[in-house]
Symmetry: C2
Subunit: 338 residues, 2 copies
């Protein structure tokens, strides 16, 4: 296979390249009443159109804007921890697009995807955080719908140890082609393909394709308990785990305050949740878990540590509003793991 | 696993034979103040002598007497679920000894061990149950100290699919010889040897021997999280599980309200705790988990069910005072598993 690729693969100079919907988050506190009144599915990522985005924005409380997007959050975490990262995603050449680019590059992530100069504006996600720290997301995909295989730089993929893809990429029309292209270049050049199932509603929308992917194309899977149950349409955690077993070389399944289970071929690790001082906003918990995990994976640390790095990064991000860390993750990990 | 278990089924007319300290429980409600005042280690099994037994009995509140003993609780559960069981343990030929014999036989368990006609009286365990449902046990071993290899009927062992042994047997002087005899007959006749680590303080007393046993002689291990950490002298659940991995063909590790993990060679099952209506007294939780598990194991049910049977039986016994079920376990399992 390797000899057929037109890409140079000898040098894996990038640890992780992430492919995702490039989104700016607008975070506001909310209550359950607001969610009910406006028909927002709690805890889910709700896809909305431009008109509804405007309507909800007009009605929601004061917001905190920050760069987000699931894979974007992950790759900035990866970079903060000291691994090298690149990002592929579509913004518009507008103010929010510039904010997104500034933030991700300022985190040390390589981000070369050309901004769209026409078409819809940069994507935004209106996130309502209820007092129980749950986040309900309302995503207007905007410019993300323009992401396609032409945005995937084969040399960047070929230079990456891991290509990380978010399940949300199945929502816009052509991103899955980008996804497929990236995955096949990764495999052809000795890289690993990693997928996060994103959320259980996303799994519900794309179950058949996700099952096929997990079985045949994914080396490293990230999922939470609900996503996994949805994927296999079973009601118990154990049934889901039995179905997953042996389908991917590596799988990390998170369970909120019950910690995570990491399977590496016939090795299984059981991690308690890392202590979080407080739980303010669970946005980004899964994204940062993946960040810590992938960093530890790419640095060839002991597999017993992969989930611990993930748990530590996740515990940081849920202790404040927003899906990007506020504490230096490198220092935090050093403190926790000595 | 289920399809490959090499039972010499023609000869194996008994599902489980349990070997344990034959003890009558005296259960009383208590508070933390009482424990502190009398130097009783909370949550542990404290070994006491005749004099202290009398002293504590005089000072504790009104008691509820019932047959107990860890392996005794397990084997009555096994029998209630419909498997055949036998018990080996030493009582004195006194009133409590007759009570113990009556109760275990009335549960359908074969119990042939000859009662001691002299020496110390039947063992008793003074159990203080605090409002947090924790039990603190004070065991006067009495007649149990007379249990020895002469009490092990080789034909009964040879006829058993599983010989189940409690770690507490390491406390009286000669019971371990009985244990060793039973284990070697079991293995010589194609039976399985199962051990429960009993409690973390017990593990602390006998760590070196338990490590050797687990590594070389035990086919089916029962332990809770604390016992396992104590066994391997590690601080995290994951480290303990990594050490345990591959040491026994089958291992069931309970985690209280966090459920249990069952390892069957390279199969791993993850069970949530079964819902308990209320938690009154956790005495016997581990014993009944083992009962449900061993029943399902001996009936060649799918390994995914072994831990579920265990969890259901454990949830029953913690919902009331005492370590023997009050609800018919067979009916309960049928209700829960359909």
């Amino acid at each position: 296979m390797a000899d057929k690729t037109p890409y140079q693969s000898a040098d894996k100079s990038i640890d992780v390249t992430a492919l995702g919907n490039a989104i700016v988050d607008v975070i506001a506190r909310s209550d359950d009443g607001f969610l009910g009144e406006h028909g927002i599915e709690k805890g889910a990522m709700n896809l909305i159109d431009a008109e509804r985005a405007e309507f909800l924005y007009d009605h929601m409380g004061p917001g905190l804007e920050m760069s987000g997007g699931s894979a974007g959050n992950t790759i900035t975490g990866v970079a903060q921890l000291g691994s090298s990262g690149a990002y592929i995603g579509k913004v518009h050449d507008d103010t929010l697009g510039k904010v997104f680019r500034h933030d991700i590059q300022a985190s040390g992530v390589r981000f070369d995807t050309v901004a769209a100069s026409d078409g819809p504006p940069t994507a935004r996600c209106l996130i309502m955080v209820t007092p129980d720290a749950q986040r309900s997301m309302n995503t207007y995909l905007g410019a993300c719908v323009d992401l396609g295989p032409e945005d995937v730089d084969g040399d960047v993929i070929a230079a990456s140890k891991v290509v990380y893809l978010e399940g949300y990429l199945w929502d816009p029309p052509r991103a899955k082609e980008a996804f497929t292209k990236a995955a096949s270049i990764a495999h052809a050049t000795g890289g690993k393909v990693s997928l996060t199932l994103s959320d259980s509603f996303c799994v519900d929308r794309h179950r058949v394709e996700f099952r096929e992917l997990v079985k045949h194309h994914v080396d490293i899977l990230f999922a939470n308990e609900d996503e996994l149950k949805s994927l296999f349409e079973v009601s118990s955690f154990d049934e889901a785990m039995q179905q997953l077993r042996w389908e991917c070389d590596v799988a990390a399944v998170t369970r909120g305050d019950r910690g995570s289970v990491v399977m590496v071929k016939d090795e299984v690790h059981f991690h308690d949740a890392e202590a979080a001082e407080k739980v303010i906003d669970t946005t980004g918990a899964g994204d940062l878990y993946a960040a810590g995990f992938l960093h530890a994976y790419c640095q060839d640390l002991d597999p017993a540590l992969w989930g611990r790095y993930g748990g530590i990064a996740a515990a940081e991000v849920i202790s404040h509003y927003g899906a990007r860390p506020e504490t230096d993750l490198k220092t935090l990990v050093a403190e926790k793991l000595g």
